[in-house]
């Protein structure tokens, strides 16, 4: 009889084990988003030169985002059609474009704030919810999709008010390619122009 309680505890604990692993992954992903978000906000709110800000931004994005993975996703079916040379040039440019776009989205706002919401596992990933507040703009619900939450967490998508950044980017590229004879070089040229215009 004395052993019954520890035994029951053991049963309960082992039954809960899978949940606790998932919960742990969610906690880690949440902590990862908090750290990354804090770093981003610190850079944005720090009054400094745009060039220096961009360098810092690039460092954070390199460390936190699976840029190559997102880039491949955004090219969709054209990734397989591209030559390895085109793939390489595309990914390099995609990296630049991503930094430019994120800087454009956040860079102009002194006083960005974000509050952490709950996080939940979804398939192999973890979705971390936050609310981002930018001055002059209504608060936006932003979900961060984190891959490999336990081992090597990386951001693979950002979903703002239900709209996925990578899905939107993918349809933008797909449409551009459809209207330019499916020519990947045309896309690369357009991306190049985009980067040179904004930096």
């Amino acid at each position: 009889m004395i052993y019954r309680r520890p035994f029951l505890t053991f049963v309960a604990a082992s039954a809960l084990f899978p949940f606790s692993v998932r919960a742990q992954a969610a906690d880690r992903a949440s902590a990862f988003v908090k750290t990354t978000g804090d770093r981003l906000v610190a850079v944005v709110n720090n009054p400094g030169a745009t060039g220096a800000k961009r360098t810092e931004m690039t460092q954070i994005i390199d460390a936190a985002v699976d840029v190559d993975g997102v880039g491949r996703f955004c090219l969709g079916r054209y990734w397989r059609q591209a030559t390895s040379e085109q793939q390489k040039r595309y990914l390099t440019l995609f990296h630049e474009v991503l930094v430019t776009n994120i800087t454009a989205k956040l860079g102009e706002y002194q006083g960005v704030r974000f509050t952490m919401g709950r996080s939940r596992p979804q398939d192999d990933e973890v979705v971390v919810s936050t609310v981002v507040e930018r001055p002059n703009n209504p608060p936006t619900a932003v979900d961060w999709i984190i891959s490999n939450p336990s081992s090597d967490p990386k951001i693979i998508d950002v979903v703002a008010e239900g709209t996925s950044l990578r899905l939107t980017q993918r349809s933008d590229y797909a449409s551009y390619l459809t209207h330019n004879n499916n020519d990947i070089n045309a896309l690369i040229t357009a991306m190049k122009t985009q980067v040179s215009q904004s930096s």
């Binding site: 430019t100 776009n101 209504p138 239900g162 709209t163 899905l167 797909a174």
Partner: protein
């Protein structure tokens, strides 16, 4: 109190306008060419995009863009420059509060009693404590706002969205949401009060209409500017964003079934709160 009069509801004008536009659309209709079956990837893309009227839609996108550049965007910029942020928030809240009848009707038709209850509580609290809806007190008291329109109601009833449409003035939409927009106007009590002889009400209605447009535009000023700056094909980007946003709204609506547990009853464990 003013008596209700049903003479010449102002939405006739809108309907007439829409009918004319529909005529223009059908006569202008150019169709996107469907890729051949030999190119399954391209065909899959075409079907996923579901935008058979793309050439016509792009024309209206250009027209709307022109109108926006000349009228709506400058108006929204001026509104932002002149009216301070807390006051704009108050105006937005007031406009939202005036949309209560349409929201409530849709909540009920969607079969979401909890949402309908939230809407009633929000109206009761914000109209009184929130001073005619200027302050969103209800949100702080645990009754957050939610989206409801007849397009969403139709989605709940199983009506498919149909192909993508870009309509003049209305912007990105689809047949289901465009129909929903019309039905929402019909359901709005403000459509039916007053007549052409009633100057006060006419002014009020037009002010509300314009303020709604400017408020909506002001809230997306920065986002739209950024999209136009960063997208290679803004039309395709808006198309994707519109669809994703609608799908997310409808998905949220579908899954919004909180358990109703009286406060005096033992609360369920956290498992259900997941």
């Amino acid at each position: 109190m003013r008596s209700l009069s049903r003479s010449r509801p102002s939405f006739y004008g809108t309907t007439w306008l829409l009918a004319c536009l529909a005529l223009v659309v059908t006569s202008l209709t150019g169709c996107a060419t469907k890729p051949p079956a030999s190119d399954p990837d391209a065909l899959a893309d075409y079907e996923q995009t579901n935008d058979p009227l793309e050439p016509t839609n792009r024309v209206f996108y250009a027209v709307n863009n022109g109108i926006d550049t000349v009228i709506l965007r400058p108006a929204a910029l001026a509104y932002r420059a002149v009216v301070p942020s807390p006051m704009r928030e108050g105006v937005h809240n007031m406009l939202t509060n005036m949309g209560t009848p349409v929201q409530l009707a849709n909540d009920m038709m969607e079969g979401k009693p909890r949402r309908a209850g939230d809407t009633v509580m929000r109206f009761a609290i914000n109209t009184t404590v929130g001073v005619l809806g200027i302050f969103d007190v209800a949100k702080k008291w645990g009754y957050p706002d939610h989206d409801a329109d007849f397009g969403m109601t139709l989605a709940m009833w199983g009506v498919p969205e149909g192909p993508f449409l870009f309509l003049p003035v209305l912007g990105p939409t689809d047949p289901r949401d465009a129909a929903g927009f019309g039905v929402d106007i019909v359901m709005d009590p403000f459509t039916w009060v007053g007549g052409s002889h009633d100057t006060g009400l006419t002014v009020f209605k037009w002010t509300r209409f314009s303020l709604n447009a400017i408020d909506a535009r002001e809230r997306v000023l920065d986002s739209v500017d950024q999209i136009k700056k960063t997208a290679l094909d803004p039309y395709a980007t808006f198309r994707s964003l519109y669809r994703q946003h609608r799908h997310a709204q409808i998905e949220k609506l579908r899954n919004d079934d909180p358990a109703t547990v009286p406060v005096w009853f033992p609360q369920p464990a956290n498992a259900s709160a997941k």
